[in-house]
Point group: D2
Chain length 460, copies 4
């Protein structure tokens, strides 16, 4: 029997994200955390020698998971197993004084979460950069806009990317707010009163929490918690990650729809010319995957919501197995989703002739609201005009629509007037170009020199 | 057969919240919105007379749901029905020019959402005020703190309320950020290009969007959307409401646990004395209800997450039936939850003798980590000390614990030393008082003179 | 302020379903339940006169919600309020002896659930009947089958309906199993031991539970529960309802996709001819609504899952507010969903020319797997053949495909052979007709004379 | 960087369950499936030699994941990679003829699901066996039953286990129904018409599907599906697994509550005597874990529900990434949950003196409903009696309750009568013993000689 791998980490997440939650890296981080505290405790007068610290430092990177596992089976306690291992390796027994398990794990985990959020923030910037390129490239690619999945009015492909980008920008702001606010849990002991740390370190204790927060880049530390920090914070994290995925997911759905009509392909071969060729790969597998990843995020969101508001007294480990799964897996999924989306954006291509053919076919129909406007300007009642236009637009093929409407006696526009109306598709595209440019400017403001091109990270 | 009422609106939500989503109020708001636009269109030169506007204004409040329903059955379109009704009442036919249905509904709904969020923000302040009172009142009520639902260390009841308050404060900050950011949808037409509004109003159009945003207190308006604004915004709203509910929900769970041990009651009769009497109402029905409401919020959160990232092209009405339920119902539930929680806070009482009796019984056991510290200070290895203490604390009743430990030959503390250690429970409560006071200050900063007492709103 | 109605009951559910959960009907049912027990208690020798029973019977239908509400505000207990009202109306004080609140509500609610399930089972049969009609009608409507939303192979529209029907049939079986199994809760008292009922009735008690179960058509009664029956049963109910909705929901999605390509319409006017006319109503609003309703069901499913496995000891009312919402609302939604789906099935129409045009265009492409088969039969290696065909099918327009492939030297089939292959679309449709007929037979077996046509129930 | 393991498979699931979804085993199963079909195709006259088959058979177990991964990176298609690997190993190119990817994966996956369900069914029997033991052991352990987490009436610990068992039995029946019904997907090709298989095998095709179903123990095969079988089946599977977890999860919650009051321990040392000793391990970590695992199941249930009803046309791979996670992980979690629960049942112990002390203290209070009965029998009105008893029971300590009630002039029972009432706790336990025995019989019927004792499987 092989080792069952975490399929999300091994198939979809980038190596940077996998590194953040890597089991060995986590243990190394814990050891560094212990040593940080050890040094501060030494200053506070606890009987800790330079030799003790050095002994620990020399074995920081000696991580043997099998040995730790063996200890855990014996102690039935994971943190205890890791303490014993580190002590055994160093030959000293000084770490973890004044701490409870959660003083270690709660802090390490929120440090991982912060790192994960920061990496995601970077991925969002990368994605916005690529969206910006698409907005420019397809600025004037006029096409059929659809509501209810049927032709409604003219839009541009650039605007479609712009709408995606603006939704993502909104989530990006929310993400940045959270990163700034996210608090360190601090050294609070088994019921949150910091009793043990006080006993161990006396008045120096407060400085300790501040020093750690500074070291790890946190602006806030909780003032009053129990054994654990409130799980509504985990929920905010997970729900924020879902929010970020929403814009790419909707765009992926739209790509699947467009590909179904032969308008675009998520995977264009280099050098291939869109106007005359068929896609080398017509199945929108990557877009489908994004929609699937969105489903995963919704489930992790359910799990995280189930921990929020369910704390008993000062807390326990009923959340433990959940967080072991939800926290890394949510980050793996979103990271993989953004990576997949960036691949799509880089390989995306259009079949211009198909797009144009569809637009030409539908244009008379798309002009109906413009006709309505012209009728009102010409003095006809809005509802009367609406009725006439509706009658024909729902019973006549687009190509014969104008003739049919023109045959109505009281209709104020001539066939010629109507045909002149649809001469230029851009006349029907409203502010789509201006809107897209506005979003491009918003993207620039966020990128602000941080990126000049995007190279995709390797998957693990 | 009676009218089936919305049970959340009629049983749990306050009348202020019900008013925000009241069906008649919504229609009135729509009519005001139409008239606002009518006036701006008049300025822009559309053929609209003062008489037209007046005719509409005179019938704003004449709302007959039955008549509108009858129209909807005929047209199979809800907005169309409301347009026709308003036109029929006024005898004019000028509203909704240059608009699509969603130009009306998307804006009205986000205006409702903003009002709902602002009311919730006020409810959170009220709740924080009451929590502040409890923190003060129970500042020195020392009690058994529990991890894994078993006695762990000493804490105070004041700190328990403080931890709840700080979790709520964190969510409160997140809520305020969202309120500031929340954008108006704007007049974007069926595919988001604003084509129809441009046709109707020409260059004056941009001013129109700005004017509306100003009127309704929005700092932002979407630049590029489709027929609908992105549903990830609705998800952020719903998930934020769930986050706010988390602190009260965890506190409610803890109250249920404490009440089960006879320590507190969520419903104390006025004049009743906690120390000698039993609760007049022992069942924590209100706390149970809060936990139930949390379950509802989780379900609405699932629904909202299912709309996020699922937009087809420029949008459709597949989200319509969902939002009809999720948006008002989530607000009703959270409003009712906070109202219930405030009632609990106002009627909450403690059985001091029971709390003290439990603490006295457990104190020797709770002192074990302190013993551990003292051993380390006295030069004993941490793991050795841990082993001795653990051996006895898991096999001896708390009252006989010190004698048992003292009997171990190498143990460095005498029985007398141990008994002296537990003389004063406050010595075991760490920073619980200081932490609680810190949170009280954070609350004051938020209240900042806005509230001097809390009176509960009537339910509907 | 108007009464806020339950939007699901008033807009979407049929009057039969609304009646099952109607608040007044529920009270009437409770009263009948009390009287049933009263009569059995009389037999068992309790001091109950015929006059007492008659006094109650005369006021069964006198339900004034306002009066009961007033009592509830005073007692803070809903069942107590209804007892007092019934006693006051009758002038007797004999009901509810030996019962606790949950002995009433748990049974009444499972009786409602059973009625709801049975109505849904009937709706499923109605839906299957209509699906059967569509399977027949479109048995030979050959069309492009799609995987990944792009043309893949030939199928029939009849088969699409058959696949929907078979998925529904599978859920139907599961539903019937549940209806048979569903147990009555019985008269178990506050902790489930039936202590109070025993005290009140002695040895006759067991007969009582059996009699009630018989009366209400239950085959099973719980042997050992607490104050409440296990909430995993509610979860099974809700998840079953979601399962039933799945087939219509997937079909609705497919209709939205087909309508987007102009192939079908969910709303055809009577007398309209599909081949030459455009749809009178092109927006698939009803199909979109079904997809939206599916989202609601997913959320209620989350809520129900949150109650399962969360019972404290013998139970409490933390589930109460949840069940007030989830149970009726889930039934309203699914009832409305099936009603909407049946409307679609009745008004559904196709644009045959469009369907044929699409098929003709894609046929050479759809024949590729058949080409592959023929190559293998002609002795070519499968992977080699696959490579040649793939090369051209992904770079050449369908109409020029055969020529391109034929130009490959080692390719074993001539252009003529290839063209002959696609002469008849039915040659590419595999077993679609046979499969559809098989499903039609399965439907017949379930209907089995119970329905000869379907008339839609009025909405409330 | 280490390999990121699937934490559920490596920490919690048993080796039998891990084997079912083991990546290497899956590949071996696929190869066996291909060979099964190859043999049937040989019979049907396809150009397949005995040597071909033998060449494949010799390399069935030669699975090198790295080599397959390398192929997948090149082909961007996972099944294609596995075909090429198997062909390369055997030097033949005959498998997968007439099949599409999903003909392989959909069947293999449903075969895995069936195996998983059957293993779970066995785990449920094991659990029921152990529950039966506990029901017997604690048949007469009278204790305080609680509603709203406060003392309500007398029950037995045996009944608590019986209620858990009966809830589990109900889910067990549902599970068995599903196992019988679960259909094989069959060889249906890319749009479900079996076109390719027909082309490859002609009239022998139908026998093929039947033979496979027989081989793998399926009673049903789908008649009409698309590329994939309906995902509402996956949802039924996942929701069923959640339903099974509910009874253990509620019991775990109750154990956490009981342990919090010092009544029981989930982990008793062998030889330890409950009456005088404290638990060797007081933290209910395993019970907490079960509640956490329930949260995971709820999230996977959300994911599965999101796939149900979301099929586009004949299907695609948007469900692929979801099912890679949800299906194995749900089985791992439930398997681990049941394993954990069985460990608890085996190590569970009680502190009899504590249980008795609590009961003695509360008994006068618990007798109140019995008092009420006696009053009614003595001719007092139920509501009047209720009022008197309630008045004192909510303001008087249990030990002084009878005296207080007795002091009420019109009260029909003397102090002596009342004290006689509570002499024997079993008089207050209603049918708890009989109910528990009834459930024990139901368990026996299911076990029916299949198990005589339970030995826990090793974790992976």
């Amino acid at each position: 029997m092989s080792i069952t791998p975490n399929v999300l980490a091994t198939r979809y997440a980038t190596k940077e994200m996998v590194a953040i939650f890597d089991p060995i890296n986590k243990i190394i981080n814990e050891r560094k955390f212990w040593i940080t505290i050890l040094k501060l405790q030494q200053k506070a007068g606890l009987p800790i020698t330079d030799g003790d610290i050095k002994a620990y430092e020399q074995v920081i990177e000696k991580v043997e998971l099998a040995s730790i596992d063996k200890r855990e089976i014996k102690t039935r306690h994971d943190v205890k197993a890791r303490i014993e291992e580190f002590n055994a390796l160093s030959g000293v027994e000084k770490i973890h004084i004044g701490l409870t398990s959660r003083d270690l794990t709660e802090n390490i985990e929120v440090i991982q979460i912060k790192a994960g959020l920061e990496l995601i923030e970077y991925r969002v910037l990368q994605t916005l950069f690529l969206l910006g390129e698409k907005i420019s490239k397809y600025e004037k690619t006029y096409m059929v806009g659809r509501s209810h999945n049927v032709a409604a009015q003219v839009t541009t492909l650039g605007k479609r990317f712009a709408s995606c980008a603006e939704e993502l920008l909104f989530a990006h702001t929310a993400l940045k707010e959270l990163i700034v606010r996210l608090p360190l849990r601090g050294i609070k002991g088994p019921v949150g009163t910091s009793q043990d740390a006080l006993d161990a370190m006396g008045k120096d204790f407060t400085n300790l929490e501040e020093s750690i927060a500074d070291d790890y880049g946190f602006e806030n530390t909780w003032a009053s918690v129990g054994q654990i920090y409130p799980r509504s914070v985990d929920f905010e994290v997970v729900s924020k990650l879902l929010q970020i995925a929403s814009a790419p997911s909707s765009m992926a759905t739209t790509i699947r729809l467009m590909a179904g009509s032969g308008l675009v392909s998520e995977g264009f071969k280099a050098g291939q010319v869109g106007s005359s060729a068929m896609p080398h790969k017509k199945n929108s597998r990557s877009s489908e995957r994004i929609n699937g990843m969105m489903v995963l995020l919704r489930g992790y969101n359910t799990m995280a919501s189930d921990l929020a508001g369910d704390q008993w007294n000062e807390g326990d480990v009923s959340c433990s197995v959940v967080r072991r799964v939800v926290i890394p897996d949510t980050f793996y999924v979103l990271d993989g989703l953004l990576h997949t989306f960036m691949t799509i954006l880089q390989e995306f291509g259009v079949f211009e002739e198909k797009i144009k053919a569809e637009l030409d076919e539908q244009l008379p129909l798309l002009a109906t609201t413009k006709l309505l406007m012209e009728c009102v300007k010409a003095g006809m009642g809005r509802e009367v005009a609406h009725q006439i236009i509706k009658k024909h637009s729902t019973t006549t093929a687009p190509s014969e629509l104008f003739a049919a409407i023109g045959s109505e006696k009281e209709f104020p526009l001539s066939l010629e007037q109507m045909n002149r109306l649809i001469q230029n598709p851009s006349d029907f595209a409203g502010l789509s170009v201006e809107q897209a440019n506005k979003v491009k400017d918003m993207i620039k403001l966020q990128i602000n020199g941080k990126l000049s091109k995007v190279e995709l990270t390797d998957l693990r």
